[in-house]
């Protein structure tokens, strides 16, 4: 009896083999490594693209620094970084940099009795808080700004990312923009010298501190805040408006950005426009401009993958709380692929028909 089943299974397996073989031949795999922030999106894009265009993505979210290291060593097809690289860094490593989506950093608080997106904060007060100079939440400056809220006498605890992260880069860039003291003090980077507060690992670690500590405030990635229903705040932007961390203000930032900026690194932090969220920034892909012969196919498939994602992936991105780029940006990126990425013979790898 068992023998019979075994034989049948074997026969079926043998019959299935040629089919499996041809399916494998159509499947191309590209490998990428880098930022943790876009990982959920790239995973979903990868699953959808495997069915749609037969390219499966193996993405390892080892952190932006690791991604830059790996693509510099050319062990993957593309790297991913939250913070843009400078022209010099890109030239030194022969890399092309282009954005895929944008993400926002929001402030989350735990003040009993304060509902979501109710607390208003000005840049000046944010700086005072992150320097540790606001001792209690019923500080007169906070109370005056939030007359409709009852702010308790709770000590202010600041929570920050202790691991190096693009989220920290965006937030400290914002802090450096709004305060000269911060710019000359801790400065902006993937990890900085925090003058005050507690560090934790990842968005989940910071959120955990915020949830556990009455009186805590910290910055986290918006997608994480939405999914985990964290209490966020309003911030007064450079145009003087109090804005909420909602898709409209994020999209306004994406639309206002100048995507023709060199290396696709437009200044999107603290724009002086109405209705823009001040801490929104793109996340980037790093692609070698001079792939070696056996990486040319991987390079072409990487561009095909992101071309597909730009055409069909915006819905997925929005559903995961990422901010899709405007189509004008997509066209500029395709033009850059055609212009910059060359195979060893010097021919462009990306041609519009390659899609």
């Amino acid at each position: 009896m068992t023998h019979g089943i075994d034989r049948r299974a074997l026969l079926m397996g043998a019959a299935a083999l040629p089919a499996a073989g041809s399916a494998l031949a159509q499947q191309a795999t590209i490998t990428g490594a880098g930022a943790t922030f876009p990982r959920p999106l790239y995973d979903r894009w990868g699953a959808a693209a495997r069915d749609a265009i037969g390219i499966s993505l193996n993405y390892q979210s080892i952190g932006s620094g690791g991604g830059i290291n790996q693509i510099t060593a050319r062990t993957v097809d593309f790297g991913a970084s939250d913070a843009p690289l400078t022209s010099a860094q890109l030239a030194e490593r022969s890399l092309l940099q282009f954005p895929t989506v944008m993400g926002s950093v929001v402030l989350s608080v735990n003040i009993p009795g304060v509902p979501d997106n109710a607390l208003r904060l000005t840049p000046e007060l944010i700086i005072e808080i992150f320097f540790g100079r606001v001792q209690f939440w019923n500080d007169p400056r906070l109370v005056e700004l939030n007359r409709d809220l009852r702010l308790p006498r709770l000590p202010v605890s600041v929570a920050y990312r202790a691991d190096g992260s693009g989220t920290t880069w965006v937030w400290t860039t914002y802090l450096s923009r709004i305060s000269e003291e911060w710019r000359n003090g801790p400065g902006a980077g993937t990890s900085v010298r925090w003058p005050f507060g507690n560090g934790a690992r990842g968005n989940e670690g910071v959120s955990n501190i915020i949830r556990n500590t009455p009186g805590a405030i910290g910055y986290i990635e918006n997608a994480y805040a939405v999914v985990n229903r964290m209490i966020t705040t309003q911030i007064r932007n450079k145009a003087g408006q109090f804005v909420r961390p909602v898709p409209e203000t994020f999209l306004a930032t994406a639309a206002a950005a100048d995507w023709s900026a060199p290396n696709f690194a437009p200044d999107t932090i603290d724009l002086a426009l109405p209705n823009v969220w001040p801490a929104t920034s793109p996340t980037y892909i790093l692609l070698p401009t001079n792939p070696v012969a056996d990486r040319v196919a991987g390079s072409r498939n990487t561009m095909r993958f992101f071309d597909w994602a730009f055409r069909h992936g915006s819905q997925i991105a929005s559903s995961l709380e990422y901010i899709p780029l405007p189509t004008t940006a997509h066209d500029l990126i395709r033009a850059a692929w055609a212009r910059s990425v060359r195979d060893p013979a010097g021919n462009p790898i990306w041609t519009p028909s390659a899609a």
Partner: protein, 323 residues
């Protein structure tokens, strides 16, 4: 001669056992032993080579420098805060753990009825087998809120008002993740090692010594302090050093609860950092060949040196017992 051959049944030539197998086996074992030394040496050399740019840039001052600034363009690194954090959290853990470990060992060797010794002994060994990440999670989700609500918020102001020692408890950090929480978690983690070592060495005290002391009318406490501890003092210290060695290198559990702030803690409730935490936090984002990565190698090298010294001392102290 011929008679003997006729009386005994004829035997063939005795099979000679070749010693090739022995030699191969011996060579393999020697290689395995040598491999450990090579591995250890290679790790030290790798760490040192990685650390060289940082040591060259900052010199000996790297060891006590308290600035840790990875921001591009203004990089400056010093291991002072993390070294102090590592040593202080480990020493506090020892202070918390040793009295309890002593109690456990005393109970198991002198007081416990025979049927209870084995379950408690097994429980201690099981405690040693719990992965450190579990202690970290438990610390973050249970211990930290407890310290924050029931110790710091409830007693913090009264403790801070104490004369002389009040400054130890005065802090503006109310998150609960602090040096104190980290030391508590570490204390629980090293408790089984110290308790097990103490129990074993207490057991090795010859019964005749203790019986003589009892015969002279000594109480249990007098036997413990007058006979058992003097007899085992060196080994007990060795066991404590063993626990210290483990506490120094503990990474994840500490990272979860210490607050990861590169500031010297002036109070038990302040957040600070340890060498292992800094490496765990910053290594993935550091660029290959950057000064930051070199500085991380450098503090790794210093941690290696500190742990090596502590373990060497503990081995040396435990030596008479291990013979």
């Amino acid at each position: 001669m011929s008679a003997s051959t006729s009386t005994f049944p004829p035997v063939g030539r005795r099979r000679r056992i070749s010693d090739t197998g022995d030699r191969i086996f011996a060579a393999l074992c020697t290689a395995a032993g040598g491999f450990v030394l090579v591995l250890l040496g290679a790790i030290i050399v790798t760490l040192f080579i990685g650390a060289l740019p940082a040591f060259e840039r900052f010199g000996v001052a790297f060891i006590w420098g308290t600035t840790w600034n990875p921001v591009e363009g203004r990089e400056e690194f010093g291991a002072g805060v993390s070294i102090v954090g590592t040593l202080v959290s480990s020493l506090l853990a020892i202070i918390f753990a040793v009295p309890i470990a002593f109690g456990i060992a005393f109970f198991l060797t002198e007081l416990a009825p025979g049927w209870l010794k084995r379950p408690i002994g097994t429980a201690i060994e099981l405690l040693a087998a719990v992965p450190s990440i579990i202690y970290g999670m438990w610390g973050l989700f249970v211990l930290v809120p407890f310290v924050q609500k029931n110790i710091q918020l409830a007693l913090g102001e009264q403790l801070a008002a104490l004369p002389l020692v009040g400054f130890l408890f005065e802090s503006t950090n109310f998150a609960g993740t602090s040096l104190f929480s980290a030391s508590l978690v570490l204390a629980i983690m090293i408790l089984p090692f110290i308790a097990a070592t103490m129990r074993d060495v207490f057991d090795q005290v010859p019964a005749v010594y203790k019986e003589s002391a009892y015969g002279l009318g000594a109480t249990r406490w007098e036997v413990m302090t007058g006979v058992v501890i003097p007899y085992t003092r060196v080994s007990v210290v060795g066991g404590i050093m063993l626990g210290l060695g483990r506490a120094l290198g503990e990474t994840m559990a500490v990272t979860f609860v210490i607050g990861n702030a590169n500031r010297i803690a002036t109070s038990l409730f302040d957040s600070t950092t340890t060498i292992a935490s800094v490496i765990a936090m910053e290594f993935p984002e550091s660029l290959a060949g950057s000064l930051q990565q070199s500085a991380l190698f450098a503090i790794g090298f210093l941690l290696f040196v500190i742990s090596f010294a502590v373990l060497a001392i503990s081995r040396w102290l435990l030596r008479p017992r291990l013979k």
